[in-house]
């Protein structure tokens, strides 16, 4: 009997101690941080949610007074309009063409430039490197008038070439490649030189394949940047057939006033491919952002 009592007492004491430990380890700062993060996430996501919901509403519901968190009807009119009554297909193709071209050329050019500055000895190498670093500090907006005049003089305005051209200035990717190539032990280069490799073989068969991660990350971030670019394509192209998706959506207007659902539906369709690319290559995109953040820091 006494043995049973003693066991019960022990159990009670153990449970009390455990409760005490739980109270002690209760992280008040952590709780506040979690609540603050959740609030920040809601504030960040709400406009996205509101955009999607609005695009699904009939126009009459959009302009009705009051907050309506979910549509009463789901007519999807704005999406059918954006897909079948605009030139969104052409704009998609234009965006895809210019973004892929920009990505391909930027990656090849930057890898080549980064390799040359990192590995080759030629007169003016240091000056070239400083110029690339300096160009990194000039915002693209400061050059946009010059670009326009230049492309205009070459009669390239309203062409896809004009859209791609100025986007090829990508000093960050050159800097990232240069830093990576600098970090490759010189034995690899020398072993390949002894084996008879020339510079192109060194770049494309040794240096680049050694870390495809960097190239993939830079390609994805360049692609997303080119797809989302608005200002320059907006200035360089005025013909609807040559427009990118970001510029094209500005054409979805109506003579009888603003159609919010329609505009938002087109905007969502415009951003969808990039969102998908981001979701698929999330890790690589983060890696690229960290690489470029390292450069900026």
């Amino acid at each position: 009997m006494s043995a049973t009592l003693s066991t019960t007492n022990d159990l009670g004491l153990a449970m009390a101690a455990q409760r005490q430990r739980r109270i002690k380890t209760f992280d008040l700062v952590g709780l506040f941080a979690t609540i603050a993060t959740v609030i920040a996430a809601i504030l960040w996501a709400f406009p996205l949610y509101w955009g999607v919901v609005t695009s699904l509403k009939p126009e009459a519901e959009v302009v009705r007074a009051g907050v309506q968190l979910l549509p009463a009807h789901w007519p999807l009119d704005s999406y059918t309009y954006a897909l079948f009554d605009t030139k969104i297909g052409v704009w998609y193709i234009n965006s895809l063409t210019t973004s892929l071209a920009t990505t391909l050329i930027v990656v090849i050019m930057s890898a080549g430039a980064g390799y040359a500055i990192s590995q080759l000895n030629f007169p003016g190498r240091r000056i070239l490197w400083w110029m690339i670093l300096a160009s990194f500090m000039v915002p693209i907006q400061a050059l946009i008038v010059n670009h326009f005049i230049l492309f205009s003089q070459f009669h390239l305005i309203n062409t896809l070439t004009a859209v791609v051209g100025p986007q090829l200035l990508a000093p960050v990717t050159v800097i990232i490649y240069k830093q990576f190539f600098d970090s490759v032990p010189k034995d690899f280069r020398e072993a390949a030189v002894v084996d008879g490799a020339h510079e192109f073989q060194l770049l494309f068969r040794i240096y680049l394949p050694m870390n495809w991660g960097i190239t993939t990350a830079l390609a994805i971030i360049t692609f997303i940047g080119a797809w989302n670019n608005f200002l320059w394509p907006f200035l360089a192209v005025t013909e609807e057939d040559k427009m990118n998706i970001t510029v094209g959506i500005t054409q979805v207007s109506d003579a009888f006033g603003v159609k919010y659902a329609r505009d938002l539906a087109t905007a969502i369709l415009a951003g969808l491919p990039v969102a998908v690319v981001y979701l698929i290559f999330q890790r690589r995109v983060t890696q690229a952002i960290m690489l470029s953040a390292g450069i900026k820091g």
């Binding site: 032990p185 390949a192 068969r205």
Partner: protein, 362 residues
Amino acid sequence: MHHVELRDVNKRFGTFDAIKHLSLGIEKGQFCALLGPSGCGKSTLLRMIAGLEEVTSGDIFINGENVTDTPPAKRKIAMVFQSYALYPHMTVKQNIGFSLSIAHAPKEFAEKRIAEVAKMLQLEQLLDRKPAQLSGGQRQRVAIGRSLVREPEVFLFDEPLSNLDAMLRVQMRLELAKLHKDLDSTMIYVTHDQVEAMTLADKIVVLDSGEISQVGTPLELYNNPANRFVASFIGSPGMNFLPVTASSMDGLNATLGLNGGTGIIVQTKTPLGKSIPTDGLEMGLRPEHIHVTSPDDGSANLKGNVAIVEQLGNSTILYVDTDAGQFVVEEDGAIGTKSGDNVGLVLDRKNIHVFGAGGLTI
């Protein structure tokens, strides 16, 4: 005609002379080791032979052809690097066949050649693996395979075993020796490890501050060092060096006096006292040429006290303090001498080396 010849070769980095007017000939099929401490210029010299480092002045000949300005790939050489330099994104097969692939060799020929090399180095089972999946020794073999596949005139090795652990190093040393025997190719091997140089090479070139200190076979360097530097660099444990005074000079015979010791009559290579000053003389004696005896033994040249005893099994290393200085003595493994014992030391006078003030052997 030498297979590899360096004529008055000089290499300058800024104001620093890494290689100072060096001339050297290496015969066909010879295994030549470039030996020296860090910074002596041995790797620079090898890289100059490979064509990876420009020659400031002088000429390099391979098989009678002046290759001083020839690119590395056309010198008919192959090089194995200290880090192995295996391309991490390629398989063993691709690594071995890289030189053939960039030379656009026919696929069948490349496959056959890779298979031959893989068989020779027992790499057949590893051909589809990446370097990261290999052990140190396997990586080393792949690096050698990559050089073998090119069928070069000359193999260059830049401290290829320094990244391996002690046991593997011994194993790979044997494999390299076997490879040299099988191929009968000219091999130039850079190392700072005198054991590697002594065991592998037919000819050792000892370098000091960009200059050749001595060239010779391993035993020549060991038994007849040209100077104090070579004497100190070759042999483990190192040679004992002690200041001595010379008296009773008679032709090539001189009596050397040690502090607290009996006079030792030695034979020098050059008569002392005439052209060679007797100031600043040093005596050099290898640890195995000193024997421990009883302190009362009349044949003992010196008396001393044992400071430290290191038992290595097959031998025992004794550190003996004497009035002349500390002696390192290598004795039989079974010797019963203990730390703190008083002992007598008998110096083997036939193996005493005498060095002048400038460090040259007299």
